[in-house]
Assembly symmetry: C2
C-alpha cells in the first residue's frame, strides 16, 4: 500500500515533506487537507492526526504526525534515500536534531507569528495583531542572525558546513519561503541583512529542483494575488474587505 | 574524558538531562550555569553553546545543545542505556520523535510562558504579564487535555501506552514539574482535571527515583520560599518588592 501524505501546500512543513518524497523518489499519494476550509478539523482527519494539524502520514498501518518526525521516518524507512539527508553517523545526526529542535521555538515561531499577523490572518478569519507582529519580528530577525553566524559561518553550501542538504536545510528553508507573501519592503528588511541565508535558500532550491519550485507554486500565486490586491487597495478606500474573499478562494 | 553537562537545575530541560545521566549510570561532570546570574550569556559559555541556553554538553571534542537532541545522543552513545528510553525500533522511535516535536510549541510553550508571567518574571528582573499568562493558560490546558486523551488513553503507565518510560516521558514530566512553583489554586485548576496526567507524573517519578526527587529539590525549595513570601505578602502591604530579592538569592 502506497504511503499517504496528508498535506496543504500552503503549510510550510507540508511542503518540506512533499518535496522530500519527490526528490527521493518515494512513491506517495498526496491527500489535500485544505486548512482554509477547516478540513483539518474534521473527525475523519482527527482519525489520521488527533492533533488536527498537517502534515501527517499513513504508511500501511503506521500513522505519524509532526513534520520533523515524518522526515526522519521517511529517511530511515525508504532505502533509496541518500545518507546525506539524515546521516547514519551519530555526531552528524545529533547536530541535525539540534537544529530541528531549535527551529520550533525560534525560526518557526517567529516566522509563523509574523506572517500571520502582518498578512495572512484576514484570510483565516482572524484579526491582524501589530503588537504580536512586532515581537515576532524580533525573534525572526534574531533567528536569521543566528543561522547566518552559527550554522552558515563556514564555506559550506548548507547548514553545519555541509555540501549536500539535510532534512534540516529542507525544513528551515521551507519555513522561510512563506516570507514570499509579505510586502516586498518587509521581506527585504528581514532578509536583506543576511546574505548567507539568501544564498543558502538558493542552494537548497537548486539541490531540490524542479520539485522545490513546483511545490512552492501555490505560495507564488498567493504572493501575486496579494500584490494585485495591495495595488488595488492603494488606489481605493484602502479597506481590507475587498482582499479577503479572493485570497480565501485561492487558498 | 568525562562527559560535561552544562546545566541549571532551575531549567526543566537541564533537569531532564541530569536525571537521564544519573538513572542510566552515565558518568558526567555537572557544570552549573546560573541563569539568574546571567552566566549563560558569558563569552565562555557562548563557546560551549552559541545559542546561550542551557543545557549543553561536551563529550570529548563533540559539543551539543537542545535537550531533546542531547537525550537522543546520550541514549545512542552510551551502551549502558536500556532500549526502552529510545527504542531501536523505527516505529516506536518515530512516535517518540513526534511527541518530542509536539512538546516544543505546545506543552513547553504554554508551561514556560504561564509560569514566567504568573510567578518567576520578577526574579528574572522582568514584569509579570497577565495577558500573556491568560493566553498561555489556554495552550497549557489544551496541551494537558491532549496528553490525557491521546497519549495516555490506554492502560499503560507511560506515554504511547508503554510500561517503561522513554525520553519523551522524562522531558515532558520535567516540564510539568515547574508548575510546583505556582500558587496552589492555580496548580490545582490546571492539573486537577487531568487524573491520568497526575498519575503519569507519579509513574515517571517512581521509575527514576531517587534521582528524580534529588534533582527536583531546587524546585521544592523555591516553592517553599514563594509560599512563605506569599503568606508574608498577604499580611503586609502586598507589594512585590519584598519578594524579589530573597528569591533571586535562592535561584
Amino acid at each position: 500500500m502506497k504511503l499517504k501524505v496528508y498535506a496543504d501546500r500552503m503549510s510550510q512543513p507540508s511542503r518540506a515533506v512533499i518535496i522530500f518524497c519527490k526528490v527521493n523518489g518515494i512513491e506517495y499519494e498526496e491527500i489535500k487537507v485544505d486548512v482554509s476550509k477547516r478540513q483539518h478539523l474534521t473527525p475523519e482527519f482527527a482519525d489520521i492526526n488527533p492533533m488536527k494539524k498537517v502534515p501527517a502520514i499513513v504508511d500501511g498501518r503506521f500513522k505519524l504526525f509532526e513534520s520533523h518526525a515524518i522526515l526522519i521516518y521517511l529517511a530511515c524507512a525508504f532505502p533509496g534515500v541518500a545518507d546525506h539527508w539524515y546521516p547514519a553517523d551519530l555526531f552528524k545526526r545529533s547536530k541535525i536534531h539540534s537544529v530541528l529542535d531549535w527551529h520550533h521555538s525560534n525560526l518557526r515561531h517567529g516566522a509563523v507569528t509574523y506572517v500571520l499577523n502582518t498578512t495572512l490572518a484576514p484570510a483565516l478569519g482572524l484579526p491582524l495583531n501589530p503588537q504580536a507582529a512586532a515581537e515576532a519580528e524580533k525573534l525572526l530577525s534574531s533567528s536569521l542572525s543566528k543561522i547566518e553566524s552559527i550554522w552558515l559561518k563556514g564555506s559550506g553550501l548548507f547548514l553545519l558546513g555541509g555540501n549536500q542538504p539535510t532534512i534540516a536545510d529542507l525544513s528551515l528553508v521551507c519555513e522561510l519561503m512563506q516570507l514570499e507573501v509579505l510586502e516586498e519592503k518587509d521581506r527585504t528588511r528581514l532578509l536583506g541583512p543576511h546574505k548567507k541565508v539568501q544564498q543558502w535558500i538558493e542552494n537548497t532550491r537548486n539541490a531540490t529542483r524542479p520539485h522545490f519550485d513546483e511545490v512552492h507554486k501555490v505560495i507564488f500565486k498567493v504572493k501575486e494575488k496579494l500584490q494585485v490586491q495591495r495595488l488595488k487597495g492603494a488606489s481605493n478606500d484602502g479597506t481590507e474587505s475587498s482582499m479577503k474573499k479572493p485570497l480565501l478562494s485561492k487558498m
